[in-house]
């Protein structure tokens, strides 16, 4: 499977995701934001970081970069697109995913391992997980407070487009285990065709027991199926 990781000035999780993808036997290429053509890709990853120093709004400038036009084109043709953290913010700025990510409710940058629950495991990104499986995954962000309009929220719920929700270690979903104020404890969402996933947690940081755990591995192995 061929993957491309888009690199912006200020991306800082690009190499982590490349290591994770290569470990999972993806043939990966790094693509600089000024490129105007994408290599043949089955999966495009928009990685985490602080693209363009988070100027204007997180993801706003990257969302208008040259390569993004190609990402939008590929996504509309059905290519799989994964946006992690800043990548999720960029995908919302491009309109590929609806809604927006606001400053964390407590105004703090949060970097810690939290629990999320797999809400929909019937997708190309999550089929190796069990439904309602609880994962321990790292989050590291300042703007992760997901918001969307009531109609889209209804669509997310009715069409089963919520990928992950923040939960406690027993899987309970409530305000006390919501790290950033996201509506409905949302940690990740799909587009309506389910070929795009945006998520705030970092699965690429959870692929090796030596440094963390392996709760992120199944996201990548799901894609290989």
């Amino acid at each position: 499977m061929n993957s491309s990781v888009i690199v912006f000035p200020g991306s800082n999780c690009d190499r982590d995701i490349a290591v994770a993808l290569e470990k999972m036997q993806f043939k990966n290429q790094m693509v600089w934001h000024k490129e105007t053509k994408l290599p043949k890709s089955d999966l495009i990853v928009v990685p985490g970081g602080f693209s363009y120093g988070d100027y204007l709004r997180s993801g706003a400038i990257a969302g208008k970069s040259l390569i993004i036009n190609e990402v939008i084109k590929a996504a509309n043709e059905g290519c799989l697109v994964l946006g992690i953290c800043n990548g999720f913010q960029i995908l919302t700025e491009t309109g590929l995913l609806k809604g927006a990510l606001l400053r964390n409710k407590n105004l703090k940058f949060i970097n810690k391992d939290i629990n999320i629950k797999v809400i929909n495991n019937d997708t190309k990104f999550s089929n190796k997980y069990k439904k309602d499986q609880i994962l321990k995954i790292n989050i590291a962000h300042n703007e992760g407070n997901y918001i969307t309009n009531p109609n889209h929220l209804k669509e997310l719920i009715n069409e089963n487009l919520i990928a992950f929700k923040y939960c406690d270690k027993d899987g309970k979903i409530n305000e006390s285990c919501n790290p950033n104020g996201s509506v409905e404890n949302i940690a990740g969402i799909f587009n309506s065709k389910k070929n795009i996933l945006g998520m705030m947690p970092h699965p690429e940081r959870m692929v090796d027991n030596l440094i963390s755990n392996t709760d992120g591995v199944n996201l990548f192995s799901s894609l290989l199926k």
């Binding site: 400053r103 969307t148 309009n149």
Partner: protein, 96 residues
């Protein structure tokens, strides 16, 4: 080639330039935690009459155009395309 003085050039550039300010704020129904913290701090400083604070962003734009309606339309387009995220933010344009 027609020679023009620097002064003339400056004058002609000035003529074809319009200046606008753009204020971007979070929509009313979007929580503004920064504004809230500023509000609480001001109230703690004894500013009892303060009702609320909304924090936003301010831009000054110069447009090379001498037709105000046309220039304003361009600025409006800039707001929609980049300066504001219409899902969460509102914007106001003023001629300055």
């Amino acid at each position: 080639m027609k020679l023009i003085s620097v002064k003339q050039l400056r004058l002609s550039l000035k003529k074809n330039k319009l200046k606008f300010s753009v204020t971007v704020t979070l929509k009313k129904d979007v929580l503004d935690p920064q504004g809230k913290v500023v509000q609480n701090t001001l109230q703690n400083l004894g500013m009892d009459s303060l009702k609320s604070v909304r924090q936003g962003k301010y831009f000054e734009l110069e447009v090379n155009d001498n037709n105000q309606t046309q220039a304003e339309k361009k600025v409006d387009d800039m707001c929609k395309k980049l300066l504001a995220n219409l899902i969460i933010e509102d914007y106001k344009i003023n001629k300055i």
